[in-house]
């Protein structure tokens, strides 16, 4: 178990991590997610012992490690550029930690072979120089080198960011499998929300050195705690005031939550937007609001198409929705469509109107309920 307790990290005049608190459980695949410069790498490097925090403590398994040198923290790390030693062979790279700690030659050979087969490196590759390997193979060497010392914690600092898209997808799965196989507590740093959602047990979304939300992938996606998280993860519509006003007239979903506040910043995930031909499929459950509109643009993505629909309702703005490319023939720009929205899907962030506010005309704040809303 890892605990950050009131950690402060200050570089010169830059406060990288102000009062950082976080607990990571045993065996978790924990991801620090955020845009570049949000402090996620700083948090990781503080745990690794490369950064001395200005204040606060770090605990591993209840023991204080704040001032312990890196090599005594029982941590393995895979670096962004792998940091393989260019003058050594693959075998020497993996065995470096064992050699330094005085493990016998025979034992070193045995353990290197063992870990190499676990990450699928063969004996020919073990004899090569590290620069003769492909990016994916280099990454496996880096992982083997980190795991061969049997660390308690594995740190991964954007280890997939240097690979091409296809390999990245493939290695994502392998990395996760390895982690489950070894059952090792893993802290993963990335700016890629896709990686975070697919691999993590839990995610901490970070912004400007602060944790915005900690939760399972489903929690941070479905119930984004802050407007930042909502914008950073997934694709969401910021609803215009006219649309919010129309929605707020309806009771909010079957769970009977409070009605929507028209003054709050309101978001709707694109896959939660229903798009139908006018007068087509009726709303399921009766709680949905249907608004007529006109298709303005279509983007074809292969698996699905996304549509930008301008709503007829006054100050309704536009919403983006997607339709899977199955047998649906799709809509063309200029087509009339019905847009249906379940008020329960709307995410609201009161008072947080700093972001995206510019898109909404100010004078529509108190727009009256449009007459056509009930159609």
């Amino acid at each position: 178990m890892i605990t950050y307790e009131n950690i402060d990290v200050v570089f010169d005049d830059f406060h990288a991590l102000p009062d950082f608190n976080l607990t990571i459980g045993e065996g978790e695949f924990f991801t620090l997610l955020g845009p570049s410069g949000c402090g996620k790498s700083t948090a990781l490097r503080t745990l690794a012992g490369f950064i001395d925090p200005t204040a606060g403590e770090v605990y591993v398994d209840g023991a204080r490690v704040t001032n312990l040198p890196s090599q005594r923290r029982q941590i393995g790390m895979v670096f962004q550029n792998y940091a393989l030693f260019p003058t050594m062979t693959v075998r020497e790279n993996i065995g470096f930690g064992l050699k330094v700690s005085g493990v016998s030659k025979a034992e070193t050979t045995r353990r290197v072979d063992e870990i190499a087969s676990a990450v699928e490196l063969d004996s020919v590759q073990l004899g090569k120089g590290v620069t003769e390997l492909s990016g994916g193979q280099q990454q496996r060497v880096a992982i083997a080198r980190a795991l061969v010392l049997r660390p308690k914690i594995l740190l991964l600092d954007e280890p997939l960011s240097n690979l091409d898209a296809k390999l990245r997808h493939q290695l994502r799965g392998q990395l996760k499998e390895l982690q489950e196989q070894f059952g090792i507590t893993t802290v993963y740093v990335t700016h890629d929300q896709d990686e975070a959602l697919t691999m993590s047990t839990r995610i901490a979304v970070m912004n400007k050195g602060r944790i915005e939300q900690v939760g399972t992938p489903q929690e941070v996606y479905m119930h984004s705690a802050t407007e930042f998280v909502c914008n950073f993860i997934g694709d969401a519509n910021r609803l215009a005031t006219g649309t919010v006003a129309a929605l707020s007239a309806l009771p909010r979903g079957v769970r009977g939550t409070a009605a929507l506040n028209p003054a709050s910043a309101s978001y709707l995930r694109v896959e939660r937007v229903g798009l139908h031909a006018p007068g087509g499929k009726a709303d399921d459950g009766g709680a949905r609001l249907t608004l007529p509109g006109t298709v303005r643009a279509r983007q074809y993505h292969g698996v699905y198409s996304s549509y930008r629909v301008e709503l007829d309702v006054r100050d309704g703005g536009t919403v983006k929705g997607i339709i899977q490319e199955t047998r649906h023939r799709g809509f063309a720009p200029g087509d009339r469509v019905d847009v249906s929205i379940d008020p329960a899907d709307v995410l609201q962030y009161p008072g947080a109107d700093a972001q995206g506010a510019a898109q909404v005309p100010a004078l529509t704040q108190l727009a009256p309920l449009p007459s056509g809303a009930s159609q």
Partner: protein, 588 residues
């Protein structure tokens, strides 16, 4: 990353290196120069400007000052003209036989300094081979035609263009060729493209080379001393003359001071210009340079003719030297080169006669000692300075650059003055006149170049490598030995080789501090030029020169020329080829 002074002081490795470094800097870099200042301004413990008055009243001294600046200015023009020309004909214009031309011009890279000056003197001098031939045809000619300012400028121009070959070639290769293509597409002629696109782009490099040339002219020793005659003596030969007599040592120190201040001012200007912004296009997709055809037929013919004429000028002396190294002195002086006069006797003599081999041995010894010592020491220092960046290390770095800012003459003179008597800072050991002093001086002079290059090499090593080693359990020393050292080793070896090269034929420093019984090659070669006639000592000089050229050529090839065999295997290792990028690093 900034690491605080406090944290730095916790590293035991740092404390040891720092202690040695502080003593070394104080004893060898700071104190001798302070003593030299003392010699000028306070010869008897009282502040005085008498040395300047004495200098002002010495006509020879004032003439030498004037001549030095004159030489520097003239060289700045001639070296640039010839240097830019040879780079353009070998690298920019489509000239037939460009490769041969390049190899011919590059001979200036493998022999320079006293070796080159001596070679020219023995060929063109009063009793030289060419002069003998000419005198046979024109009995009334002035046999001393190759003396004075013209001769000095001629020799130093050929030598100075080596900088263009190394650095301007490099800069030219980095010009984004798409800018040339764009200009041509808009209708610019070959000349216009050259004058408005290419040369302005490499202007910072040309400025840098010009300043180096200027400094070279200002501090010139061998060329004016050997070829200048009585009419054209410059500052450094004058310093040498004055330094040899105790009564005029203050004059020597004063002249050295003038030279030092001029050098510092010029280097300050150079530094400012270096910071003046990037001229190189930082293009994402640079296109390789394609050689330009000269469209005008007559211009093309003229450029070809000039290029090959220059080739002859560059090639004749080294070729004759090689030739003469296989002949007897009498054959050269009588100008009768028959097939029978060729012999291997000279080489046999150098390698069999201990006395003939001795200067070579001395040079090899000093060169090896100094180049290895300085690289070994600076490996630790460079790492320290690169890792811990704060005010203390910045100051140390500044002090270590003193030998770069000051002319070697001044450094040598400072050491002689400071340690000709027992001094507590040196543990009461007198250094002046000992065998050790030349070795120490060589180490001092090589510090700035070595430090800059090694620091750059360490900077090229990603921090993550060290962190990876640390997290795998390696301590700082183990990390240094097993991870960092192997990565920078190729660069370190290249630096050591370049240092060794430049020390092998040194004359300018040795003439001040060498022990009379341990005289390196440079001095022996210089002494041979003093002889009135060609004798067997001259023949030995040729052999020394050929051997030096061989060693230098091999080193240059290993460092710059090799088709990067080592690099293919280890592309992440710091590249020694980076040494060709910075012109300022070749000083001393």
């Amino acid at each position: 990353m900034n690491i605080s002074v406090h944290k730095m002081l916790r590293s035991p490795l740092f404390l040891v290196v720092a202690a040695v470094l502080l003593w070394f800097s104080a004893a060898f870099l700071v104190w001798p120069n302070l003593r030299l200042l003392g010699e000028v301004f306070m010869p008897n413990g009282e502040p005085t400007f008498r040395a300047f008055e004495r200098l002002g009243s010495s006509r020879r001294a004032m003439d030498s000052l004037r001549n030095s600046f004159l030489l520097a200015i003239v060289l700045s023009v001639t070296v640039n003209l010839v240097g830019v020309f040879i780079v353009l004909v070998t690298r920019y214009f489509a000239i037939k036989g460009a490769r041969v031309l390049y190899l011919g011009y590059a001979t200036t890279l493998i022999y320079g300094g006293i070796v080159q000056v001596a070679g020219y003197k023995i060929i063109y001098g009063e009793h030289g081979f060419v002069t003998n031939l000419l005198a046979g045809a024109f009995p009334d000619m002035d046999r001393t035609w190759f003396t004075g300012m013209a001769a000095v400028v001629f020799v130093m121009t050929v030598a100075g263009t080596g900088n263009h070959l190394l650095f301007m070639t490099n800069a030219l290769a980095r010009v984004d060729f798409q800018t040339v293509e764009a200009a041509k597409m808009m209708g610019a002629s070959t000349w216009r493209v050259l004058l408005t696109i290419v040369l302005p782009t490499i202007r910072p490099m040309l400025y840098a080379i010009t300043i180096l040339t200027f400094l070279g002219g200002l501090g010139a020793l061998a060329a004016p001393q050997v070829l200048g005659g009585t009419s054209f003596q410059t500052i450094t030969p004058m310093i040498l003359t004055f330094a040899n007599s105790p009564s005029s040592r203050d004059l020597a120190a004063t002249l050295a001071l003038v030279l030092g201040v001029s050098t510092m001012v010029l280097l300050a200007i150079l530094n400012r210009m270096e910071k003046g912004g990037t001229y190189f296009a930082v293009s994402k997709v640079p296109t390789a340079m394609k050689k330009q055809k000269i469209a005008n037929r007559w211009a093309n013919a003229a450029v070809h003719a000039a290029a090959y004429l220059l080739l002859a000028v560059y090639l004749v002396p080294p070729l004759l030297i090689v030739l003469f190294s296989f002949t007897s002195a009498s054959a050269i002086s009588t100008g009768t080169l028959a097939w029978e006069s060729f012999t291997l006797k000279n080489y046999a003599l150098v390698f069999s006669d201990y006395e003939a081999f001795w200067p070579f041995l001395v040079s090899l010894g000093y060169g090896a000692f100094a180049s290895i010592t300085v690289v070994a020491g600076m490996l630790f220092v460079a790492r320290l300075l690169q890792k811990y960046r704060n005010r203390v290390t910045a100051f140390i770095e500044f002090v270590l650059h003193i030998p770069w800012v000051l002319p070697s003459t001044l450094i040598a003179l400072g050491l002689i003055i400071a340690y000709d008597h027992a001094s507590w800072i040196m543990g009461n050991v007198v250094l002046t006149g000992t065998v050790a002093l030349l070795g120490i001086t060589y180490v001092i002079l090589k510090i700035p170049f070595t430090l800059r290059m090694l620091k750059a090499a360490f900077t090229g090593v990603p921090d993550q490598l060290e962190e990876a080693a640390a997290i795998l359990g390696a301590g700082p020393l183990t990390t240094f030995r097993l991870v960092l050292l192997p990565v920078v080793a190729p660069t370190a070896a290249a630096i050591a080789a370049l240092n060794f090269n430049s020390l092998l034929d040194d004359y300018d420093t040795a003439v001040f501090v060498a022990h009379p019984l341990y005289q390196p090659l440079g001095i022996v070669i210089k002494n041979a030029t003093g002889e009135d006639t060609l004798n067997d000592a001259t023949a030995l000089t040729f052999v020394y020169t050929v051997l030096l050229m061989l060693i230098t050529a091999t080193t240059m090839w290993l460092v710059y020329g090799r088709p990067s065999a080592g690099r293919r295997r280890k592309p992440k290792a710091a590249e020694p080829a980076g040494t060709a990028v910075e012109p300022v690093t070749t000083r001393n």
